[in-house]
C-alpha cells in the first residue's frame, strides 16, 4: 500500500474520532454507518459457497436434449478442459420437478430448495473466465484470479462498516475446509487488514481465534485494570490518536469475549428451529452445516454485514473442493446436496418467519458449473462457460429465472453475465455504487469490478 493511503486512514480516523468518539472505531472501518450511495435494499449478505463447482445441469438447469442424445459426441465445439478426458454426452441422473407457483424446475438433489423456489431468483447464465479452482475462487470473490485483491466481503465492510461493534463486519463460518487457493478468498487484499474475513468456528471450543480467556475472570479483570491505568499514563505523556484507539480496543475485545460465546450458544433456540435446519440429523456433516446456517441467521440478526459459510465435506470428499466430481458424480453430488439442502431451505424459511428475509441477501453458488459430457466413466469436468446460481432475499425477484445456456447447458447464450455483474448487483443491493466504491492503491483507484460490471437490473424488485 502506498503511504498516502495509510495517511488517508489516519486522517479519516482523526476526523471520525472527533465526531463519533472512540467506541465506533473498534473495527476502524472507514465509514461505519456512513451514508450509502443510494438507499440500501439489504443490510446483510449470506453467501453459501459451494466450493468445487456444482453441476448446473444436474440441479437448476434441466436439459432434455442431453437425454435424447445420451452417449453421443458433443455436436458443438468444446473448450479446453482441466483433464482433457472428454467423453460423450451424459444426461443428468436426477429427475427435475416443477416447484411452487413459479413452476421453477429443480432436480431431486435439492427438494428443500425446491420447496422455497418461489423465493429464489435463479440465474442460469453466469460465466467465469477461469478453469481452475483457485483462480476461479479468487475471481468469484475478488474479481481477480490472483491473490492480493480485496474480496467482496472486505469491500462490503469497507463501504459500509459494521453495525455491531462487538463482532467483526465480515465473518466466515469455518468448518476446517477452505476453498482451493487458501484463505486469500476471504482476504482484504490491499484494503487494510481490518476488512478481512474473521473466522468463527462454530464447532470448536474456541470459536474465534484467541476469544477464550485462559486466565480466570478475576485475573483478567485485574490485568485489564493494570493495563488501562498504565496506558492512560502513557497516553497522557504524549497524546496520540492511534494509541488512544488501540487502548479503546481493549474494551471492545473484552465485550467480544462475551458476545462471541453468546452468539454460538444455541441453547436459546427452540427445538423446532433446530429441527427445521436439520441440526438433529444423524448425518454429522448435515448437522454441522445446519449449525452454520442457523448461526448465519443469528449473525444477520446482530447486524453483521457479510457472512460466508464454508462447505462441510462429506467423508472422502475433503480437501477444499467437495463438489468437484471429476468422477462418481452421482454419489458425490448426492452426498454434498444432502448436507446443504435442508439447512439452506430452512435458512430462507427462518429468515422469512423472522422478518429478516427482506433485509438480507442469500447467495448460493459454486465457482463454476460442470460440463454436460462425461469425464472418464462417470464424472464431469469444470464448466466456466455457463452455469447457474441463485439469489434470494431483499431487492431481488423471487420465483424468476434469468438468462439461459444453450440446449446442452454448455455455454451461456442469453443474458450472459460475468462475476463483475454479480458483484455490481450485490453492492447495489447494499446501497453502494460499484463505480464509486473505490480505493486508491498502487497509483490508481481500484474497484471491486475493475472497469467492468453492470447491475443486473431485470432481476431487481421495485
Amino acid at each position: 500500500m502506498c503511504g498516502k493511503q495509510r495517511r488517508f486512514f489516519t486522517r479519516r480516523d482523526i476526523l471520525r474520532n472527533a465526531s463519533l468518539g472512540f467506541g465506533s472505531l473498534a473495527f476502524s472501518s472507514l465509514a461505519a454507518q456512513t451514508k450509502t450511495h443510494f438507499p440500501a435494499k439489504v443490510k446483510s449478505i449470506i453467501f453459501c459457497y459451494m466450493s468445487g463447482g456444482v453441476s448446473h445441469i444436474d440441479s437448476f438447469d434441466p436439459k432434455p436434449r442431453l437425454i435424447k442424445e445420451a452417449g453421443q459426441p458433443m455436436p458443438v465445439p468444446i473448450d479446453r478442459t482441466m483433464f482433457n478426458q472428454n467423453g460423450n454426452i451424459m444426461p443428468s441422473p436426477w429427475e427435475f420437478k416443477n416447484y411452487g407457483q413459479s413452476g421453477m424446475p429443480v432436480s431431486d438433489l435439492f427438494p428443500h430448495m425446491g420447496a422455497v423456489a418461489d423465493d429464489l431468483c435463479l440465474i442460469r447464465s453466469m460465466t467465469v473466465k477461469f478453469m481452475e479452482h483457485a483462480q476461479a475462487n479468487n475471481y468469484f470473490h475478488s474479481g481477480n484470479p490472483l491473490t492480493g485483491y480485496p474480496t467482496i466481503g472486505a469491500w462490503a465492510t469497507y463501504g459500509l462498516g459494521t453495525v455491531n461493534q462487538n463482532l467483526p463486519g465480515f465473518i466466515v463460518l469455518g468448518s476446517g475446509e477452505i476453498p482451493l487457493g487458501g484463505i486469500n478468498v476471504y482476504g482484504s487484499g490491499f484494503l487494510p487488514a481490518v476488512h478481512q474475513g474473521s473466522f468463527i468456528y462454530p464447532e470448536r471450543p474456541e470459536p474465534l481465534q484467541d476469544i477464550t480467556p485462559k486466565a480466570d475472570a478475576a485475573v483478567q479483570k485485574r490485568q485489564l485494570a493494570f493495563i488501562a491505568a498504565r496506558d492512560r499514563e502513557y497516553l497522557t505523556s504524549a497524546p496520540n490518536a492511534q494509541v488512544e484507539a488501540a487502548i479503546q480496543n481493549y474494551e471492545t475485545a473484552y465485550r467480544m469475549q462475551t458476545a462471541v460465546p453468546e452468539l454460538v450458544d444455541l441453547r436459546g433456540e427452540s427445538d423446532a428451529t433446530k429441527k427445521l435446519y436439520g441440526m438433529d440429523s444423524p448425518n454429522k456433516e448435515k448437522a454441522a452445516y445446519a449449525r452454520q446456517c442457523l448461526l448465519a441467521r443469528r449473525l444477520v440478526e446482530r447486524g453483521v454485514r457479510f457472512v460466508e459459510l464454508s462447505h462441510v465435506a462429506p467423508p472422502g470428499l475433503g480437501g477444499g473442493n467437495s463438489w468437484d466430481q471429476h468422477s462418481n458424480l452421482r454419489d458425490g453430488h448426492a452426498k454434498n446436496a444432502f448436507v446443504v439442502d435442508q439447512p439452506i431451505g430452512a435458512l430462507i424459511r427462518d429468515l422469512k418467519s423472522r422478518g429478516l428475509f427482506d433485509e438480507t441477501l442469500v447467495i448460493w453458488s459454486g465457482e463454476f458449473g460442470r460440463v454436460p459430457f462425461v469425464q472418464g466413466k462417470d464424472g464431469r469436468d469444470h464448466c466456466p462457460s455457463g452455469f447457474s446460481l441463485w439469489l434470494a432475499g431483499g431487492g431481488v425477484k423471487g420465483g424468476t429465472i434469468f438468462g439461459a445456456t444453450d440446449e446442452y447447458g454448455y455455454r451461456a447464450v442469453e443474458n450472459v453475465l460475468t462475476i463483475h455483474d454479480l458483484h455490481a448487483t450485490i453492492l447495489h443491493l447494499l446501497g453502494l455504487d460499484h463505480e464509486r466504491l473505490t480505493f486508491r492503491y498502487s497509483g490508481r483507484d481500484f474497484r471491486l469490478t475493475d472497469v467492468h460490471g453492470q447491475v443486473i437490473r431485470p432481476i431487481l424488485r421495485g
Binding site: K4, R7, L25, V194, F199, T252, D445
Partner: protein, 906 residues
Amino acid sequence: MPPTGPLAAGEMATLERWISLGAPWPTGRTAAKEFDLAERRRDHWAWLPIRTVPWPQRQLSTSAGRADDATLLRRVTFDLTGLPPTLEQIRAFSLDGSFEKVVDRLLTSPRFGERMARRWMDLIRYSESHGSEGDPDTPQSWRYRDYLIRAFNEDVPYDQLIREHLAGDLLPNPRINEKEGINESRLALAHWRMVEHGFQPVDPWEDRVKWTDNQVDVFSKTFQGLTISCARCHDHKFDAISQKDYYALLGIFASARPTQSAIDAPQVLNLHREGLASLKPRIRAELAEQWRAEVPGLVNRLPLAVRTASLDWLHPLFPLSASDSDLQDWAAKARKEMISRREFNGKNTVKRWNLAEQYSQWPRQGVGAPESYSTAGEFSVLPDGETAISGIYPGGVYSHLLSSKHGAVITSPRFKIDSDSISLRFLGGNFSFAQLIIENYAVPRGGIFNLRDSAKRDEMGWARWDTRFWKGFTGYIEFSTLQEATLIGGDEQDGRLNRRPPARHAGRSWWGAQDMVFQTSQTVLKEELTPVNYVLDAVPATVDEYARYLENRLGQAIAAFAAGKMSDEQAAYLDSFVRLGLLPNRVSPLVAEYRRLENEIAVPRRAPGILEEAGSDHPLLVRGDPKHLGEPVPRRFLTALDGKAYAEPKSMRLALAEDLTKATNPLTARVMANRLYQYLFREGIVATPDNFGKLGAAPKDLELLDGLATQFVVDSWSIKKLMRRLLLSAAYQSRDLPTRRLEAEEIRDAILASSGQLDLTMYGKSVPVYYAHETGATKGDRAKGPLDGANRRSVYLEVRRNATHPFLEVFDVYKPTSTRGQRDVTNVPAQSLALLNSPFVLKVSEKWASQLGTHPDRVNQVYLQTLGREATAKERDEAESFAAETKSMAPVVQAIFNLKEFLYVR
C-alpha cells in the same frame, strides 16, 4: 478507475474537509487529454535530474529537544534491529552516553541485516510457495533470505545489489562469499521466481503473462518507485510511461526460464574437475588394455550362464549355438528387422532434431552441463560398488561424465508445438527429468501437464509425450538433474509418494540425452541402435567363423574405444559385452583414486534461479489481452529515461541494471534514499514510497530528498553510511519523532527477546508455518509448524502464500503479492485478544515468570527488558501487589506485553 459523474453534496463536503486536513492529492491535471510522454516527463519532478545539493543539515536539525536516553535507545534499537535493547546495552549507554557508539554498534550487529532483510522482503514480495491449488514450494527460497541478511550486514553497495538482483548470472565478476563458498550474485536472482502460478492452467500463455506482469510490477515499484504495470493495457493514465515501455521491459524478463541454480562458488563446484578429467583417459586406457587381453578365445569361454541366458533374439551372441544354416537365416531376419524398424520410425517421424548439431544453441546451466556433444564411447565411473563403470554410451549429451553430483540443466530452443507427440531417447537416474516445459510453467503436476519423465535406467530408451492438447503453445525440452528441477515434489503430487532417491544416492542425479523426434502419431518408436548393428554387414558362413568374427569385431571396437573415436554401433556392441559381464570391469587403484576425489566433491547447494534464453521482442498485447497480439516491441528501458533498444540479446538484464545505476537515472537513488529515510523517520519525504508518479505524494521537501540522494551516491551507495548520517542528525534524535506501532515481527520478536527466550540462531531452512486454518494447500501432507516458531526470529518463519502465521497476521504482517514499501497499521480488537488470550503469549509469560522467581528486583528487570527503562517505585509496588493478588508473576508479565508503551516506540 476514477469515478464518473458528480459526487453527492455531502460526499463533496467530506472530501473538501479531508483535503483541508492536508491529505495528499495530485496537483494539476489528473486525467490525460492525449498521451504526450515528453510533456509529462517535463512536467513531473521525479523525471528531472537529481540536483547536486549539499548535505541537508538545515532540514535535519530540529527545534525540539533531544529525546531522553531511554526513549532514544529503545527507538534506535528497534529501528535498526527490530528488537528491544538488552539490559547490558541499556547499562552501557547509561554509563557512556555516546549515541554515536550505540549507532555504530547497532549498524554492525548481525540483527541489522535481519531487520533490513525483512524490509526488503516486503518490497520484493518474498515467498516460499507459488500459491493457488496445492501451494507448491519454491524450493530453497530461504537461501535468498540469507543472502539478503548477509548483504545488508556487509553493507554491499546498493548499486551492486541492483546489479545482482537483475543480472547476478551475467556479471563478469560475481561476488563470491569465500567463507561460505557461495556465489552471492547468482543467489540474488531467486526473487524472479517468487511469482504466483495458476494450477494446471489450460492456457499457460495467459498464466505466463500474468506472472511476468507481476515481475514488471515488483521491479518497477521496488527499484524505480513507478507503477509501470498500469501501462499493460494502455499508455499510463498519469505518468510518462507508454504501453510500449511496458512491453519493452516485459520482453526482457520473459526471456528468463525458470530453473534451480547451484549457488556454490566456482572453486567449490569445480573441485577436482581437472584431476578427474585427467584420470579418465588413464582409466579408459587401462580398461582397453584389460579388455584387449580378454578378446582371443572369449567366445569359446563364454560362461554357460550367458549361453543359456534368454538373450534377445537380436543379440549377436544369440545364434552361437545354432547350425550354420540357421545362422544365415538369423542374419537375414535380423537385417530385415532392422530395416523395418528404421522404416517404421521414419514413417512416424515428422522431424528429428540432431542434438550433435543443435547443442551449441541450447541454453544450459550447471557444472555438469557439458560444453559440447560427446561422440560415442563415453562412460561414467560408478561412485561405489564392485564394478567400475556401468557401460559405454553412444553419442549424446551427458550430465555425469565426471560426477553424478554435478547438477545440469540443458534446454532446447523455444519452439511452437505443432506435432501430435514428441519422443525422446535418453537415460538417467535418481529422478533426473526430461520434460517439455510449456510457456515456462514451472510447477506442472501431471494430468494435462503429463510431459515429464524420469528415466531410472542407465541405458538409452524412449519416452513419448502426447502433445495434441498443446499445439499452438510454445515450449522447450529440458533435461535436468533432480535438484535443478523447479518442482521436485512433482511425483508426490501425482500420488506416488515413495519415489525419492535412496539415501545412499542423496545428492546424486544424472541424465544423458540423445535423440528427439516429433511425431504424427502416438506410436512408440522402436530401437534402431542395438548391438547387432555392428555385425550384420558381413556375417560369415559358419558358426565357428562367426565366433572368430565376433571377437574380431570386439577387438576393433575396443581399439576404437581406446582411441576415443568410435561409432554408435561400435559403442552399442562393446557396451553389451561390458554389461553382460564378459569383459573385466573391476575397481583398479586408478578407479579407486578417481572415486576418492569424486567423493570429496560437495553436493551443490541450489536456490531458485533463472536461465537466460536468447529471447525475442515481446508482442504488445492489445488492451492487455494475451489473445490479442500486436507488434513486437524492441527490448529497452523506459523512453522517458533512455529508450534506446538493447542490442545484445544475452545480456539485456545487465544493460537494464546499468540503466538503473547510472548517474543520470533520477529515480534509483531517490527511491532508496527515501526508503531509508522512511525507515527512520516513520514517513518518507515522499509519503508513497513505491509510487513517485503523478498520483503518488509530492515530496515534502525535494531539496532534502535530493540532498540525501546525492550523498547516497557520493558515499558509494552505502546504505549504512546514509542511515548513520541520518541517525546522527538532531532531527532523528528529537523528542518529537512521531510515535509508531511496532510491526508484527517486532512485536513477536520483542516478546521473545525481552523474556530471554529468543533463539538468535541465524540462517537456514525456515521454521514451517503455524497455520490456524486448514488450507487447500496442505491436504495433510505438510506438517504444521510449531506455535512458538521454535523461538526463532520472525524473519526465519516460513512465508507461504496460502497460509499466514495467525499471530503476525493480526498485526498487519506483509502478505506476498507485490511491492509494499509501507505496512498498514490497523487497530482491531483481534490484536488485544491475541495479546490477552493467545497461547503463544501465555506460554512465554509463564516461562519468564518462573525464571524471574521471587527476585526482589524482578519488576524492574521486566520493565527494563520490555520498555527499556527502570520502573518507578509506584510502578514496582503496583506490579508486586498485582503479582501478590494473583499469586503469580505471569499475569503481570503478560499485562506488560499488552502495554501501549511496549507496543509503540516514540
